[in-house]
Symmetry: none
Subunit: 187 residues, 4 copies
DNA sequence: GATGAATGAGCCTTCATTCAT
DNA sequence: TATGAATGAAGGCTCATTCAT
């Protein structure tokens, strides 16, 4: 039998995505996870701690996923392409995590923290953006605008793919999508 | 003295933005608005109806704002530019409405509705996008992807401006921002 | 029908005396009082506030009772006698309040406040004690010791009477009891 | 390293005095004592058993302390004086035990038992009281009243000393205090 | 003996909503 | 229209206790 703590985390992720944080009682999580309510609070002092733990774990694996094989590319553009494919592939194959991440990011009760954490998420991209600006490949605009816009564009594309997951295997389509992403950035 | 119904709506908007829907009890809204709890439910049958009313009103004025003076422009690009400025100016001058709108859109308990509504919001843009594709000015890609990406990019830019509101008066900056928006779309 | 708030207070007093604060759930109070749980919390923000309200009210009527007719007496001794009878009569006729008062006073979660409040309770006696010392009628010892001891002696006598309430009508007995109280104090 | 059982008892005493029985979870006792929760319940079947054990031990050493050297005195008064000093010295040097004892005595969930136990505590005094009455040295009043009043007076004095511990070394003061105690009793 | 994860009944409190005035 | 006391289902969390290791 799986570790109860892990079982709770997985169940919580699923239910949060389905119903949202507030509409998911801890009792429901416990029941669905097959544990007692006390067990949930044995592992996570509060509901909020459970949510945060989930977020932190999600962020960690997301960052891992985004970074993969990026540095093995030669040109800056291929590096961006790699990040781009990493991002959309991850979203498609981990839809729950992806939804959870959005939900958490827009949740008002964590506003301040969120921004900072949101940036961490795109740390790889930020580095590439800076590099590209220094080499005059990308637009010469405030880095902050660049980051927010890149993130927005990528989110837009991801949103579409989440609703049309079959497109992920259509290389022509994904290349078109990537060209949009690239066009926002390149100078 | 202002109309009580209106007072409730304004107070609710402010509090929802500050705390989120779920963390804002109707009792708090009533108290802050200076009315009895019964009065709130006299005007709005349920809390959800209050939220929806707020959303509908917001959407209406947002659409009005986005559309303004668009058809007075000659080229497609200037039309997009006009929409772009309309969007960012509105966001900056109505931050509460803007936040409320995002929050509502990402709220899981209205998921199905959201898509549809989100589209309505960008109805102007959609029309322009179609027009641009038909005239081979914009990228020849699925219209859905185009819409989602345009919306994402615009949201990204808006996010940045919300945190740096002083930039709204820096024409050079806003033109750079617009160029990003335009580059995503143009073929 | 009686005022609900009052009904809650009376029921709570009864139950607290029977079971103690901790062993009396608010749900039990509400049910026994014939109101909804929400009603209890509508009138008292927390369980603790309910307890404190009960204490304050009890203290008030106790003080009133102790003071009665004291100043109509001529000698200091008769004043003390009056207070003494006031105290034991009140205890016998309001056993619940009396028990509640003891329980509250010894409750560890209100330690600091208690001392101070306990003194208020015996404000009348304190004044008499000071007067007696100034006139060399009472023992010339630190007033604090005098107060605490007087209170202790009176509590002891009261305790006995609570278990033998019939004695309250035995004038010979009560006079013997009073002589004990008086002997502790007189110089 | 100290015996775990003993460690639990000592920690429990300290915490009960600080927070009261109900506000002291067994988990807190275990943690503070540096043992596992299971260990606590290995030594004491229930929380109540732990409390009772603590009470019994306290009572035992209290009785020992009160009795010390009493029978070595010649007159009844010196015997009372001896008990008196035994009582206040013990209270001052074992404040936690003293507080615990009071708390236990006033705890509503052991009401019935309490009376009986309270009597045991003053068994020495009771014997002396009886002896004194038989020899016409003490007041000729119901022995029950005598016991309760003596206890009350002594508690009052003790309370004062607990708050002014430095007075314990002021022989003039303690003799004044004793005279109060003696005056309540003597005929 | 010792451990600590697991249990689940039960507690305090919240909050959307109703209704008599 | 407006009021606010009253409602009660539901939620987060606690805590004494058990039990497999």
């Amino acid at each position: 039998m799986k570790d109860k703590r892990q079982q709770i985390l997985e169940t919580a992720l699923k239910l949060f995505v389905e119903n949202g944080f507030h509409a998911t009682p801890t009792s429901m999580i416990a029941k669905e996870a097959g544990v007692a309510t006390g067990t949930l609070f044995h592992h996570f002092k509060t509901k909020e701690e459970l949510i945060n733990t989930l977020y932190l774990e999600t962020k960690e694996i997301l960052i891992q996923a985004l970074t993969k094989q990026v540095n093995e590319q030669d040109t800056l553009k291929s590096k961006f392409r790699q990040v781009f494919y990493n991002a959309i592939n991850w979203a498609i194959s981990h839809p729950d995590h992806q939804f959870f991440y959005s939900q958490y990011s827009y949740s008002p009760f964590i506003s301040t923290l969120t921004r900072e954490l949101g940036l961490q998420r795109f740390h790889v991209i930020q580095e590439l953006l800076k590099e590209g600006q220094e080499n005059d490949i990308l637009k010469a605009i405030p880095i902050g605008l660049m980051i927010d816009t890149a993130q927005g564009t990528l989110d837009g594309i991801t949103n579409y793919l989440m609703e049309h997951p079959e497109k992920i295997d259509d290389r022509e389509f994904t290349e078109q999508a990537f060209s949009m992403f690239w066009d926002v950035l390149k100078g």
